[in-house]
Protein backbone atom coordinates (compact mmCIF):
# COMPACT_ATOMS: atom_id res chain seq x y z
CA UNK A 1 0.00 0.00 0.00
CA UNK A 2 1.17 3.52 -0.78
CA UNK A 3 2.36 5.82 2.00
CA UNK A 4 -0.08 8.57 1.08
CA UNK A 5 -3.09 7.65 -0.94
CA UNK A 6 -5.56 10.07 -2.49
CA UNK A 7 -8.44 8.02 -3.85
CA UNK A 8 -11.30 9.18 -6.05
CA UNK A 9 -11.20 12.59 -4.44
CA UNK A 10 -13.84 15.09 -5.55
CA UNK A 11 -14.29 18.51 -4.08
CA UNK A 12 -17.30 20.69 -4.62
CA UNK A 13 -17.88 24.00 -2.92
CA UNK A 14 -21.35 24.56 -1.44
CA UNK A 15 -22.66 27.12 -3.88
CA UNK A 16 -21.12 25.82 -7.07
CA UNK A 17 -22.88 23.54 -9.57
CA UNK A 18 -19.75 21.64 -10.64
CA UNK A 19 -16.93 20.19 -8.55
CA UNK A 20 -13.54 21.88 -8.59
CA UNK A 21 -11.75 18.54 -8.68
CA UNK A 22 -13.23 15.25 -9.86
CA UNK A 23 -12.00 11.76 -9.17
CA UNK A 24 -8.41 12.58 -8.37
CA UNK A 25 -6.42 9.47 -7.52
CA UNK A 26 -2.76 9.57 -6.53
CA UNK A 27 -0.42 7.19 -4.75
CA UNK A 28 2.69 8.65 -3.22
CA UNK A 29 5.51 6.56 -1.79
CA UNK A 30 7.49 7.43 1.28
CA UNK A 31 10.28 9.88 0.58
CA UNK A 32 8.93 10.85 -2.80
CA UNK A 33 8.86 14.43 -4.02
CA UNK A 34 5.67 15.01 -5.99
CA UNK A 35 4.72 18.25 -7.70
CA UNK A 36 1.23 19.17 -8.73
CA UNK A 37 1.12 21.60 -11.62
CA UNK A 38 -1.73 23.24 -13.52
CA UNK A 39 -3.09 26.57 -14.61
CA UNK A 40 -4.41 29.10 -12.10
CA UNK A 41 -7.79 28.16 -10.73
CA UNK A 42 -7.54 24.47 -11.56
CA UNK A 43 -7.80 23.48 -7.93
CA UNK A 44 -4.17 22.72 -7.09
CA UNK A 45 -4.31 24.56 -3.79
CA UNK A 46 -7.71 23.06 -3.03
CA UNK A 47 -6.18 19.60 -3.43
CA UNK A 48 -3.38 20.50 -1.04
CA UNK A 49 -5.81 21.95 1.49
CA UNK A 50 -7.76 18.70 1.51
CA UNK A 51 -4.60 16.70 2.12
CA UNK A 52 -3.75 19.17 4.89
CA UNK A 53 -7.22 18.63 6.35
CA UNK A 54 -8.10 22.31 6.10
CA UNK A 55 -10.93 21.55 3.65
CA UNK A 56 -13.30 18.57 3.72
CA UNK A 57 -13.49 16.20 0.75
CA UNK A 58 -16.88 16.00 -0.94
CA UNK A 59 -16.32 12.44 -2.12
CA UNK A 60 -13.41 10.06 -1.86
CA UNK A 61 -10.67 10.68 0.63
CA UNK A 62 -7.06 10.75 1.71
CA UNK A 63 -5.21 7.99 3.56
CA UNK A 64 -1.88 8.55 5.27
CA UNK A 65 -0.26 5.28 6.35
CA UNK A 66 -3.66 3.64 6.08
CA UNK A 67 -5.32 6.22 8.37
CA UNK A 68 -7.97 8.51 7.01
CA UNK A 69 -7.12 12.18 7.09
CA UNK A 70 -9.93 14.65 7.73
CA UNK A 71 -8.62 17.18 10.22
CA UNK A 72 -5.51 19.36 10.07
CA UNK A 73 -2.54 18.12 12.02
CA UNK A 74 1.21 18.43 12.44
CA UNK A 75 1.86 15.15 10.60
CA UNK A 76 1.01 17.10 7.43
CA UNK A 77 2.80 20.39 7.95
CA UNK A 78 2.04 23.12 5.44
CA UNK A 79 4.34 25.81 4.08
CA UNK A 80 1.96 28.52 2.96
CA UNK A 81 2.52 30.64 -0.10
CA UNK A 82 2.53 33.88 1.84
CA UNK A 83 4.62 32.39 4.67
CA UNK A 84 1.88 33.12 7.28
CA UNK A 85 4.33 33.91 10.04
CA UNK A 86 2.80 35.59 13.06
CA UNK A 87 4.11 39.16 12.85
CA UNK A 88 4.10 39.78 16.60
CA UNK A 89 6.47 36.88 17.30
CA UNK A 90 10.17 36.69 16.51
CA UNK A 91 11.53 34.11 14.09
CA UNK A 92 12.48 31.81 16.96
CA UNK A 93 9.13 32.27 18.70
CA UNK A 94 7.26 31.45 15.50
CA UNK A 95 9.03 28.11 15.19
CA UNK A 96 9.05 27.49 18.93
CA UNK A 97 5.29 27.85 19.12
CA UNK A 98 4.88 25.07 16.57
CA UNK A 99 7.45 22.92 18.38
CA UNK A 100 5.74 23.45 21.73
CA UNK A 101 2.40 22.18 20.49
CA UNK A 102 3.67 19.30 18.37
CA UNK A 103 6.91 17.35 18.75
CA UNK A 104 7.92 19.33 21.81
CA UNK A 105 5.04 18.21 24.02
CA UNK A 106 7.25 15.83 25.96
CA UNK A 107 10.42 17.88 25.75
CA UNK A 108 11.84 20.19 28.38
CA UNK A 109 12.03 23.91 27.69
CA UNK A 110 15.71 23.67 26.92
CA UNK A 111 15.23 20.78 24.51
CA UNK A 112 12.46 22.64 22.68
CA UNK A 113 14.62 25.68 22.19
CA UNK A 114 17.54 23.53 21.08
CA UNK A 115 15.37 21.74 18.53
CA UNK A 116 13.97 25.07 17.30
CA UNK A 117 17.45 26.48 16.79
CA UNK A 118 18.57 23.29 15.09
CA UNK A 119 15.72 23.60 12.59
CA UNK A 120 16.50 27.25 12.01
CA UNK A 121 20.11 26.28 11.35
CA UNK A 122 18.86 23.78 8.77
CA UNK A 123 17.34 26.60 6.71
CA UNK A 124 20.29 28.88 7.53
CA UNK A 125 18.29 31.43 9.48
CA UNK A 126 20.24 31.38 12.74
CA UNK A 127 21.56 34.89 12.10
CA UNK A 128 18.03 36.38 12.16
CA UNK A 129 16.55 34.28 14.96
CA UNK A 130 15.56 37.28 17.09
CA UNK A 131 14.12 39.39 14.28
CA UNK A 132 10.45 39.82 13.63
CA UNK A 133 8.94 38.83 10.28
CA UNK A 134 8.53 42.49 9.35
CA UNK A 135 12.28 42.98 9.53
CA UNK A 136 13.40 40.22 7.16
CA UNK A 137 13.10 39.70 3.40
CA UNK A 138 10.48 37.61 1.63
CA UNK A 139 12.92 34.79 0.97
CA UNK A 140 13.97 34.71 4.61
CA UNK A 141 10.34 34.62 5.74
CA UNK A 142 9.74 31.64 3.51
CA UNK A 143 12.79 29.92 4.99
CA UNK A 144 11.32 30.40 8.43
CA UNK A 145 7.99 29.06 7.13
CA UNK A 146 9.84 25.96 5.94
CA UNK A 147 11.65 25.68 9.27
CA UNK A 148 8.36 25.89 11.14
CA UNK A 149 6.93 23.07 9.03
CA UNK A 150 10.06 20.92 9.34
CA UNK A 151 10.21 21.46 13.08
CA UNK A 152 6.98 19.49 13.46
CA UNK A 153 8.74 16.46 11.94
CA UNK A 154 5.82 15.86 9.61
CA UNK A 155 5.19 12.62 7.77
CA UNK A 156 4.34 14.66 4.69
CA UNK A 157 5.51 18.17 3.95
CA UNK A 158 2.97 20.17 1.96
CA UNK A 159 4.31 23.13 0.01
CA UNK A 160 1.68 25.49 -1.38
CA UNK A 161 3.45 27.46 -4.12
CA UNK A 162 6.20 28.16 -1.62
CA UNK A 163 8.38 30.19 -3.96
CA UNK A 164 5.60 31.90 -5.92
CA UNK A 165 6.01 35.29 -4.28
CA UNK A 166 9.81 35.40 -4.53
CA UNK A 167 12.12 36.91 -7.12
CA UNK A 168 13.86 34.53 -9.52
CA UNK A 169 17.27 34.52 -7.83
CA UNK A 170 15.91 34.00 -4.34
CA UNK A 171 13.63 31.31 -5.70
CA UNK A 172 16.50 29.39 -7.27
CA UNK A 173 18.43 29.62 -4.04
CA UNK A 174 15.55 28.31 -1.96
CA UNK A 175 14.85 25.52 -4.44
CA UNK A 176 18.41 24.32 -3.95
CA UNK A 177 17.92 24.48 -0.18
CA UNK A 178 14.73 22.45 -0.38
CA UNK A 179 16.50 19.85 -2.54
CA UNK A 180 19.27 19.61 0.02
CA UNK A 181 16.83 19.29 2.92
CA UNK A 182 14.82 16.67 1.05
CA UNK A 183 18.01 14.71 0.43
CA UNK A 184 19.10 15.04 4.08
CA UNK A 185 15.81 14.21 5.77
CA UNK A 186 14.24 11.99 3.12
CA UNK A 187 10.84 13.52 3.79
CA UNK A 188 7.79 12.99 1.62
CA UNK A 189 6.81 16.19 -0.14
CA UNK A 190 3.82 17.39 -2.12
CA UNK A 191 4.46 20.72 -3.78
CA UNK A 192 1.95 22.87 -5.61
CA UNK A 193 3.56 24.98 -8.31
CA UNK A 194 2.93 26.69 -11.60
CA UNK A 195 6.59 26.85 -12.53
CA UNK A 196 7.57 24.13 -15.02
CA UNK A 197 11.33 24.29 -14.44
CA UNK A 198 10.82 24.16 -10.70
CA UNK A 199 8.61 21.10 -11.01
CA UNK A 200 11.10 19.23 -13.22
CA UNK A 201 14.11 20.24 -11.15
CA UNK A 202 12.71 19.21 -7.78
CA UNK A 203 10.31 16.34 -8.37
CA UNK A 204 10.37 12.61 -8.71
CA UNK A 205 6.93 12.81 -10.23
CA UNK A 206 4.92 15.62 -11.76
CA UNK A 207 1.15 15.43 -11.58
CA UNK A 208 -0.49 17.59 -14.23
CA UNK A 209 -4.03 18.74 -13.63
CA UNK A 210 -6.45 19.62 -16.43
CA UNK A 211 -8.24 22.95 -16.34
CA UNK A 212 -10.93 23.46 -13.73
CA UNK A 213 -13.70 23.21 -12.90
CA UNK A 214 -13.99 19.47 -13.03
CA UNK A 215 -10.20 19.22 -13.05
CA UNK A 216 -8.74 15.72 -13.25
CA UNK A 217 -5.25 14.29 -13.25
CA UNK A 218 -4.33 14.71 -16.89
CA UNK A 219 -0.93 13.07 -16.91
CA UNK A 220 1.72 11.91 -14.51
CA UNK A 221 5.33 12.30 -15.53
CA UNK A 222 8.13 10.35 -13.84
CA UNK A 223 11.31 12.41 -13.65
CA UNK A 224 14.10 9.88 -13.48
CA UNK A 225 16.99 12.34 -13.29
CA UNK A 226 19.63 11.22 -10.77
CA UNK A 227 20.05 13.16 -7.54
CA UNK A 228 21.69 15.33 -6.40
CA UNK A 229 20.62 17.55 -9.25
CA UNK A 230 22.51 20.60 -10.34
CA UNK A 231 20.50 23.27 -12.10
CA UNK A 232 23.41 24.43 -14.25
CA UNK A 233 24.43 20.95 -15.41
CA UNK A 234 20.81 20.05 -16.07
CA UNK A 235 20.46 22.94 -18.51
CA UNK A 236 22.08 20.81 -21.21
CA UNK A 237 20.75 17.43 -20.06
CA UNK A 238 18.45 15.88 -22.69
CA UNK A 239 16.27 14.09 -20.13
CA UNK A 240 15.68 17.36 -18.30
CA UNK A 241 14.78 19.14 -21.51
CA UNK A 242 12.50 16.31 -22.60
CA UNK A 243 10.66 16.36 -19.25
CA UNK A 244 10.32 20.10 -19.41
CA UNK A 245 8.96 19.91 -22.93
CA UNK A 246 6.45 17.24 -21.94
CA UNK A 247 5.04 19.43 -19.16
CA UNK A 248 5.03 22.53 -21.35
CA UNK A 249 3.22 20.67 -24.11
CA UNK A 250 0.61 19.49 -21.66
CA UNK A 251 0.05 22.96 -20.21
CA UNK A 252 0.21 25.09 -23.31
CA UNK A 253 -0.85 22.80 -26.10
CA UNK A 254 -3.36 20.29 -24.90
CA UNK A 255 -4.68 22.20 -21.90
CA UNK A 256 -4.05 25.84 -22.64
CA UNK A 257 -5.06 28.44 -20.09
CA UNK A 258 -8.85 28.62 -19.78
CA UNK A 259 -9.05 32.30 -20.72
CA UNK A 260 -7.32 31.60 -24.00
CA UNK A 261 -9.65 28.79 -24.96
CA UNK A 262 -12.61 30.97 -24.14
CA UNK A 263 -11.43 33.83 -26.31
Amino acid sequence: MAYLEISNLSIQFPRSPVPVLRDVTLRIDKGQYVSVIGHSGCGKSTLLNVVAGLLPATAGGVLLEGQEVNTPGPDRAVVFQNHSLLPWLTVTENVLMAVELTVGRKMSKVQRLAWTLETLALVKMTHAKDKRPGEISGGMKQRVGIARALAMQPKVLLLDEPFGALDALTRAHLQDEVMRIHADLGCTVIMITHDVEEAVLLSDRIVMLTNGPNARVGEVLEVSLPRPRNRIALGAEPRFLAAREAVLTFLHDRHAAPTLTAA
Binding site: L54, P72, G73, P74, R76, V78, F80, P87, W88
Partner: protein, 286 residues
Amino acid sequence: MNILVTKPEAAPILASSPLPPPSRVAWLRPYAANILPPVLLTLLFFIAWQALCSGPGSNLPPPTQVWAESSELILRPFYIRGGLDRGLGLHLFASLERVAMGFVLAAIAGVALGLLVGTSDFAMRGLDPIFQVLRTVPPLAWLPLSLAAFREATPSAIFVIFITAIWPIIINTAVGVRNVPQDYRNVAAVIRLRGPAFFWRIVLPAAAPYIFTGLRIGIGLAWLAIIAAEMLIGGVGIGFFIWDAWNSSHLSDIFVALFYVGITGFVLDRIVAALGQMATRGTQAS
Protein backbone atom coordinates in the same frame (compact mmCIF):
# COMPACT_ATOMS: atom_id res chain seq x y z
CA MET B 1 24.48 26.76 -27.68
CA ASN B 2 26.52 29.00 -25.44
CA ILE B 3 26.95 32.33 -27.15
CA LEU B 4 29.05 33.65 -24.34
CA VAL B 5 32.41 32.01 -24.93
CA THR B 6 34.87 34.28 -23.15
CA LYS B 7 34.71 34.25 -19.42
CA PRO B 8 33.51 37.64 -18.16
CA GLU B 9 36.21 39.58 -16.40
CA ALA B 10 35.76 40.81 -12.89
CA ALA B 11 35.07 44.52 -12.76
CA PRO B 12 38.05 46.53 -11.47
CA ILE B 13 37.61 47.84 -7.96
CA LEU B 14 37.34 51.61 -8.06
CA ALA B 15 39.10 53.64 -5.46
CA SER B 16 36.27 55.12 -3.44
CA SER B 17 36.38 58.89 -3.44
CA PRO B 18 34.78 60.55 -0.41
CA LEU B 19 31.46 62.29 -0.98
CA PRO B 20 31.49 66.08 -0.63
CA PRO B 21 30.81 67.05 3.00
CA PRO B 22 27.27 68.32 3.69
CA SER B 23 26.90 72.03 4.25
CA ARG B 24 27.07 73.25 7.82
CA VAL B 25 23.37 74.11 8.19
CA ALA B 26 22.07 71.07 6.30
CA TRP B 27 21.05 69.26 9.49
CA LEU B 28 18.72 72.14 10.33
CA ARG B 29 16.74 71.80 7.14
CA PRO B 30 14.36 68.94 8.04
CA TYR B 31 13.53 70.60 11.37
CA ALA B 32 12.92 73.94 9.73
CA ALA B 33 10.65 72.30 7.17
CA ASN B 34 8.52 70.82 9.95
CA ILE B 35 8.52 73.65 12.44
CA LEU B 36 8.36 76.71 10.22
CA PRO B 37 4.90 76.18 8.66
CA PRO B 38 2.95 75.72 11.93
CA VAL B 39 4.78 78.61 13.63
CA LEU B 40 4.16 80.88 10.67
CA LEU B 41 0.49 80.00 10.35
CA THR B 42 -0.16 80.33 14.08
CA LEU B 43 1.37 83.78 13.97
CA LEU B 44 -0.82 84.65 10.99
CA PHE B 45 -3.85 83.37 12.87
CA PHE B 46 -3.14 85.62 15.86
CA ILE B 47 -2.60 88.62 13.60
CA ALA B 48 -5.90 87.99 11.84
CA TRP B 49 -7.67 87.53 15.18
CA GLN B 50 -6.17 90.76 16.48
CA ALA B 51 -7.22 92.60 13.34
CA LEU B 52 -10.77 91.23 13.33
CA CYS B 53 -11.53 91.79 17.02
CA SER B 54 -9.84 95.14 17.58
CA GLY B 55 -12.68 97.25 16.22
CA PRO B 56 -14.86 99.20 18.69
CA GLY B 57 -17.97 97.17 17.90
CA SER B 58 -16.31 93.80 18.31
CA ASN B 59 -18.09 91.18 20.45
CA LEU B 60 -14.99 89.09 21.17
CA PRO B 61 -11.73 90.18 22.79
CA PRO B 62 -8.53 90.30 20.69
CA PRO B 63 -5.46 88.34 21.84
CA THR B 64 -3.89 91.33 23.55
CA GLN B 65 -6.97 91.79 25.71
CA VAL B 66 -7.11 88.05 26.48
CA TRP B 67 -3.54 88.26 27.72
CA ALA B 68 -4.23 91.40 29.75
CA GLU B 69 -7.30 89.96 31.46
CA SER B 70 -6.45 86.28 31.79
CA SER B 71 -2.68 85.96 31.91
CA GLU B 72 -2.99 84.75 35.50
CA LEU B 73 -4.79 81.65 34.25
CA ILE B 74 -1.89 80.88 31.95
CA LEU B 75 0.91 81.76 34.30
CA ARG B 76 -0.50 80.27 37.51
CA PRO B 77 -2.54 77.19 36.68
CA PHE B 78 -2.58 75.82 40.25
CA TYR B 79 -3.72 78.64 42.53
CA ILE B 80 -6.59 78.10 44.97
CA ARG B 81 -8.53 81.11 46.18
CA GLY B 82 -11.24 79.27 48.03
CA GLY B 83 -14.46 77.81 46.69
CA LEU B 84 -14.48 77.16 42.99
CA ASP B 85 -12.09 79.99 42.23
CA ARG B 86 -8.99 77.98 41.44
CA GLY B 87 -6.42 77.58 38.68
CA LEU B 88 -7.23 76.05 35.34
CA GLY B 89 -4.78 73.21 35.98
CA LEU B 90 -6.87 72.10 38.94
CA HIS B 91 -10.09 72.25 36.93
CA LEU B 92 -8.36 70.21 34.26
CA PHE B 93 -7.27 67.61 36.79
CA ALA B 94 -10.82 67.23 38.03
CA SER B 95 -12.02 66.65 34.48
CA LEU B 96 -9.18 64.27 33.70
CA GLU B 97 -9.96 62.25 36.79
CA ARG B 98 -13.54 61.72 35.63
CA VAL B 99 -12.42 60.89 32.11
CA ALA B 100 -9.84 58.44 33.41
CA MET B 101 -12.43 56.61 35.55
CA GLY B 102 -15.06 56.48 32.85
CA PHE B 103 -12.60 55.60 30.12
CA VAL B 104 -10.90 52.78 32.04
CA LEU B 105 -14.29 51.26 32.83
CA ALA B 106 -15.31 51.65 29.19
CA ALA B 107 -12.07 50.07 28.01
CA ILE B 108 -12.49 47.02 30.25
CA ALA B 109 -16.17 46.51 29.49
CA GLY B 110 -15.78 47.46 25.82
CA VAL B 111 -12.94 45.06 25.08
CA ALA B 112 -14.72 42.25 26.95
CA LEU B 113 -18.00 42.82 25.10
CA GLY B 114 -16.18 43.26 21.80
CA LEU B 115 -14.40 39.94 22.23
CA LEU B 116 -17.73 38.30 23.03
CA VAL B 117 -19.46 39.81 20.01
CA GLY B 118 -16.48 38.99 17.82
CA THR B 119 -16.30 35.33 18.78
CA SER B 120 -19.92 34.33 19.27
CA ASP B 121 -22.39 34.51 16.41
CA PHE B 122 -25.27 34.41 18.86
CA ALA B 123 -23.95 37.41 20.79
CA MET B 124 -23.25 39.18 17.50
CA ARG B 125 -26.80 38.75 16.22
CA GLY B 126 -28.33 39.57 19.57
CA LEU B 127 -26.23 42.52 20.64
CA ASP B 128 -25.17 44.21 17.45
CA PRO B 129 -28.58 45.81 16.65
CA ILE B 130 -28.77 47.14 20.21
CA PHE B 131 -25.26 48.59 19.99
CA GLN B 132 -25.94 50.14 16.63
CA VAL B 133 -28.96 52.02 17.98
CA LEU B 134 -27.48 53.00 21.34
CA ARG B 135 -24.22 54.30 19.90
CA THR B 136 -26.07 57.02 18.00
CA VAL B 137 -27.55 58.48 21.20
CA PRO B 138 -25.72 61.76 21.90
CA PRO B 139 -23.71 61.65 25.15
CA LEU B 140 -25.64 64.39 26.91
CA ALA B 141 -28.93 62.62 26.34
CA TRP B 142 -27.79 60.05 28.88
CA LEU B 143 -27.18 62.67 31.55
CA PRO B 144 -30.72 63.09 32.93
CA LEU B 145 -31.20 59.34 33.30
CA SER B 146 -27.77 59.04 34.78
CA LEU B 147 -28.49 61.82 37.32
CA ALA B 148 -31.76 60.15 38.19
CA ALA B 149 -30.01 56.83 38.76
CA PHE B 150 -26.92 58.01 40.66
CA ARG B 151 -28.34 61.13 42.37
CA GLU B 152 -24.87 62.66 42.36
CA ALA B 153 -22.90 64.73 39.90
CA THR B 154 -19.57 62.89 39.71
CA PRO B 155 -20.80 59.32 39.15
CA SER B 156 -23.27 60.67 36.60
CA ALA B 157 -20.49 62.39 34.67
CA ILE B 158 -18.37 59.24 34.82
CA PHE B 159 -21.29 57.23 33.49
CA VAL B 160 -21.71 59.64 30.59
CA ILE B 161 -18.01 59.22 29.74
CA PHE B 162 -18.35 55.48 30.01
CA ILE B 163 -21.37 55.24 27.75
CA THR B 164 -19.80 57.59 25.20
CA ALA B 165 -16.46 55.87 24.95
CA ILE B 166 -17.62 52.27 25.02
CA TRP B 167 -19.22 51.97 21.55
CA PRO B 168 -16.19 52.49 19.35
CA ILE B 169 -14.21 50.18 21.65
CA ILE B 170 -16.79 47.39 21.38
CA ILE B 171 -17.23 47.74 17.65
CA ASN B 172 -13.54 47.92 16.78
CA THR B 173 -12.65 45.01 19.03
CA ALA B 174 -15.36 42.87 17.45
CA VAL B 175 -14.20 43.77 13.95
CA GLY B 176 -10.61 42.96 14.92
CA VAL B 177 -11.58 39.55 16.23
CA ARG B 178 -13.64 38.80 13.13
CA ASN B 179 -10.79 39.88 10.86
CA VAL B 180 -8.13 37.53 12.19
CA PRO B 181 -6.58 36.46 8.86
CA GLN B 182 -7.47 33.00 7.60
CA ASP B 183 -3.74 32.32 7.28
CA TYR B 184 -3.26 32.58 11.02
CA ARG B 185 -6.28 30.36 11.58
CA ASN B 186 -4.78 27.79 9.21
CA VAL B 187 -1.45 27.87 11.02
CA ALA B 188 -3.25 27.38 14.31
CA ALA B 189 -5.25 24.49 12.84
CA VAL B 190 -2.14 22.70 11.60
CA ILE B 191 -0.41 22.92 14.97
CA ARG B 192 -3.72 22.16 16.71
CA LEU B 193 -3.77 25.34 18.73
CA ARG B 194 -7.31 25.52 20.08
CA GLY B 195 -9.56 26.96 22.78
CA PRO B 196 -8.22 29.57 25.18
CA ALA B 197 -4.64 29.15 23.94
CA PHE B 198 -5.77 29.98 20.39
CA PHE B 199 -7.57 32.98 21.75
CA TRP B 200 -4.63 34.34 23.76
CA ARG B 201 -1.88 33.56 21.30
CA ILE B 202 -3.55 34.30 17.96
CA VAL B 203 -6.83 36.20 18.27
CA LEU B 204 -5.84 38.79 20.85
CA PRO B 205 -2.52 39.83 19.28
CA ALA B 206 -4.07 39.86 15.81
CA ALA B 207 -6.93 42.06 17.01
CA ALA B 208 -4.73 44.38 19.09
CA PRO B 209 -4.32 47.09 16.43
CA TYR B 210 -8.11 47.27 16.01
CA ILE B 211 -8.62 47.39 19.77
CA PHE B 212 -6.26 50.33 20.08
CA THR B 213 -7.98 52.13 17.23
CA GLY B 214 -11.21 51.76 19.22
CA LEU B 215 -9.54 53.04 22.38
CA ARG B 216 -8.19 56.04 20.55
CA ILE B 217 -11.58 56.99 19.14
CA GLY B 218 -13.05 56.35 22.59
CA ILE B 219 -10.73 58.71 24.44
CA GLY B 220 -11.45 61.43 21.90
CA LEU B 221 -15.18 61.09 22.34
CA ALA B 222 -14.82 60.92 26.12
CA TRP B 223 -12.98 64.23 26.15
CA LEU B 224 -15.67 65.78 23.95
CA ALA B 225 -18.39 64.54 26.28
CA ILE B 226 -16.86 65.58 29.60
CA ILE B 227 -16.80 69.27 28.70
CA ALA B 228 -20.48 69.24 27.81
CA ALA B 229 -21.44 67.12 30.83
CA GLU B 230 -19.57 69.37 33.26
CA MET B 231 -21.31 72.45 31.92
CA LEU B 232 -24.53 70.90 33.13
CA ILE B 233 -23.52 69.23 36.38
CA GLY B 234 -21.40 72.08 37.79
CA GLY B 235 -18.78 71.72 40.50
CA VAL B 236 -15.09 71.54 39.65
CA GLY B 237 -14.03 70.85 36.08
CA ILE B 238 -12.93 72.55 32.93
CA GLY B 239 -16.42 72.35 31.42
CA PHE B 240 -17.92 74.05 34.43
CA PHE B 241 -15.17 76.64 34.34
CA ILE B 242 -16.12 77.59 30.80
CA TRP B 243 -19.81 77.80 31.62
CA ASP B 244 -19.07 79.83 34.74
CA ALA B 245 -16.87 82.22 32.75
CA TRP B 246 -19.68 82.70 30.25
CA ASN B 247 -22.17 83.45 33.02
CA SER B 248 -19.87 86.05 34.52
CA SER B 249 -18.92 87.46 31.08
CA HIS B 250 -15.23 86.58 31.34
CA LEU B 251 -14.85 85.93 27.65
CA SER B 252 -11.05 86.09 27.84
CA ASP B 253 -11.02 83.22 30.33
CA ILE B 254 -12.98 81.10 27.88
CA PHE B 255 -10.32 81.55 25.20
CA VAL B 256 -7.62 80.37 27.57
CA ALA B 257 -9.75 77.43 28.70
CA LEU B 258 -10.42 76.36 25.12
CA PHE B 259 -6.71 76.37 24.47
CA TYR B 260 -6.16 74.13 27.50
CA VAL B 261 -8.95 71.79 26.43
CA GLY B 262 -7.50 71.43 22.95
CA ILE B 263 -3.98 70.72 24.15
CA THR B 264 -5.23 68.17 26.70
CA GLY B 265 -7.35 66.35 24.13
CA PHE B 266 -4.38 66.23 21.81
CA VAL B 267 -2.10 64.86 24.51
CA LEU B 268 -4.67 62.21 25.53
CA ASP B 269 -4.94 61.06 21.92
CA ARG B 270 -1.17 60.83 21.58
CA ILE B 271 -0.82 58.90 24.84
CA VAL B 272 -3.30 56.23 23.72
CA ALA B 273 -1.69 56.12 20.29
CA ALA B 274 1.74 55.64 21.87
CA LEU B 275 0.41 52.86 24.11
CA GLY B 276 -1.01 51.22 21.02
CA GLN B 277 2.30 51.51 19.20
CA MET B 278 4.05 49.86 22.11
CA ALA B 279 1.54 47.06 22.53
CA THR B 280 1.21 46.21 18.86
CA ARG B 281 4.87 46.57 17.96
CA GLY B 282 5.47 44.61 14.79
CA THR B 283 1.87 43.52 14.36
CA GLN B 284 1.07 45.81 11.49
CA ALA B 285 4.11 44.96 9.43
CA SER B 286 3.83 41.61 7.75
